[in-house]
């Protein structure tokens, strides 16, 4: 049987995120598409969202 394991990213139609990551994103009205997932197969973890939130806090969106 041929291996079909995808070691890096599993790209699905919507961002793959853990439930907590989704919850934090929702509370902060954040689009998960902007967040890079560090979890297995690119899954967005809590730490990724928290890191992202800290980053945009540090450098407010002056470009907007």
């Amino acid at each position: 049987k041929e291996s079909v394991r995808e070691e890096r990213h599993v790209q699905t139609d919507k961002p793959r995120a853990t439930p907590v990551a989704r919850k934090i994103a929702k509370e902060n009205k954040l689009d998960l598409k902007e967040v890079v997932g560090s979890g297995p197969k690119g899954r967005i973890q809590r730490a990724d969202v928290e890191k992202y939130l800290k980053e945009i806090e540090v450098k407010p969106a002056i470009t907007a």
Binding site: K1, S3, V4, R5, V10, P19, P40, K41
Partner: protein
């Protein structure tokens, strides 16, 4: 109005809704004409599982010899029934206690609707909203002779008045098979007659094969594609199998061909119904705005946990939230030996929905924990769609299937790919390792499978 909400029927659908409504701040009453807990606690899930466990103990004693434990036993059915009664009593008492703890008034008696805000029991009670949770009762098919003595339903069977030497069970659904397992353990010669050409058509054949093998090894006779034509005195069951008429004499005939919605006391409301029961939308709302219905009376999936889930959905909707019932992840269980459990899509349904699928399996016969228990008959099967390896179905036959299936329920609910299961460390030695191995098999990298 006397109450915010009155719930009619104290089974799992009704009592769960009542508790959640109280938790949401509503003033609630529940009407029950018989005993709190409904079919489930009094005549369904719970009593059958007491006997299923007793059967497991008996079969354990029989199998213990292989482990060097030489045992003799006798069965005292009076004592067994009394154990059942104690368990039921305790659980029913527990529901009563929960009602009290949540300040829910329990009204004893049969409710009849007067209008959409009023019911009559001992007297009239009014409420803004109602939840109808009146459940179901055994369907008695129009078979000539079904009223003969010796012909019983599950209600009667649970009284366990005696252990018939020979029993014929009409219907190989979940209830029929569970009783077949119980009577077999108790020593009856069991025959099961089923109209459909296939056993358990909702699950895949590789799982069913193992069930068929188990029935054969227990000498439970199964006649598929067989229609009971009449029941003669004796009783003697006359049935047509693939066109040929046969008959079996026995001591007891158990009719287990299904259950029908219990729409009784609701007539005046003129609610929309269909062939199966009271019609509801995805919010559990009936054709009358302020009236909801949940559980078996809606004729949907007739399981206690579905009734309870619908009760929760209805409660939140009455409290002003918008919740829709979602039946895509409902585990189903068959408490025979081996147990069977399934959730999500079967292989055929998955192919239909996703086109290509990937299947991963792992047999109990290769699981260390199963071997230490002498439980070699079993199989874990994972159905994944092929694009992302997303897990869309799981089927398990074997010891503890009804417990470990919940890993599948979580995985399907949260849209796991097979990788997430495979990458989660599973304790050794456990039966749950079979799920991990099956996930690795989906990915083409099994460890303990040759």
């Amino acid at each position: 109005m006397d109450y915010d909400v009155i719930v009619v029927g104290g089974g799992p659908g009704g009592y769960t809704a009542a508790i959640r409504l109280a938790e949401l701040g509503k003033k609630v009453a529940i009407v029950e004409e018989d005993s709190l807990g409904g079919t489930c606690l009094n005549r369904g899930c719970i009593p059958t599982k007491v006997y299923a466990h007793a059967s497991e103990l008996i079969n354990g004693i029989k199998a213990a010899d292989d482990f060097g434990i030489v045992a003799q036993y006798t069965v005292d059915t009076d004592k067994m029934r009394k154990k059942k009664e104690r368990v039921v009593k305790r659980l029913v008492g527990g529901v009563g206690y929960l009602m009290k703890a949540h300040n829910i008034d329990v009204i004893n008696g049969k409710a009849s609707f007067i209008d959409k805000n009023t019911i009559q029991v001992d007297k009239r009670y009014t409420a803004n909203n109602f939840i109808i949770a009146t459940g179901s009762k055994t369907f008695i098919p129009p078979i000539p002779g079904v009223e003969n003595s010796g012909v019983i339903t599950s209600d009667k069977a649970l009284e366990l008045e005696n252990v018939p030497e020979k029993i014929v069970i009409i219907g190989a659904g979940i209830i029929g098979l569970e009783f077949a397992n119980i009577y077999n353990a108790l020593g009856s010669r069991v025959t099961v007659i089923e109209m459909l050409p296939e056993l358990l058509p909702m699950i895949d054949r590789d799982i069913v094969e193992i069930m068929l093998k188990s029935l054969r090894s227990k000498r439970i006779d199964l006649h598929l594609n067989s229609k009971v034509e009449r029941i003669e005195a004796g009783p003697k069951v006359v049935y047509a199998e693939n066109g040929n008429t046969n008959s079996i004499e026995c001591d007891t005939v158990l009719v287990a061909v299904g259950r029908v919605a219990n729409i009784n006391g609701v007539e005046r409301l003129n609610l929309e119904t269909d062939r199966k029961g009271i019609r509801v939308d995805s919010h559990m709302r009936t054709s009358l705005d302020n009236i909801y219905a949940v559980g078996d009376v809606t004729g949907g999936i007739q399981l206690a946990h579905v009734a309870a889930y619908q009760g929760i959905v209805a409660a939140h909707n009455i409290a002003g939230e918008e919740r829709e019932a979602d039946y895509s992840v409902v585990p189903s269980c068959l408490y025979t030996e081996p147990e069977v459990a399934w959730v999500g899509l079967n292989e055929g349904q998955a192919r239909e929905k996703y086109g290509e699928v990937r299947i991963g399996t792992f047999p109990y016969s290769a699981l260390g924990r199963a071997m230490t228990m002498g439980e070699n008959d079993g199989l874990v099967k994972i159905i994944a769609e092929a694009k992302y390896n997303q897990v869309v179905g799981m089927e398990i036959i074997g010891r503890d299937a009804t417990e470990i299936i919940h890993e599948g329920a979580l995985a399907i609910k949260e849209e796991f790919t097979a990788e997430e299961i495979a990458d989660t460390i599973h304790a050794h030695p456990t039966l749950s390792e079979g799920i991990k191995e099956a996930a690795e098999d989906v990915l083409g990298m099994p460890i303990n499978k040759g």
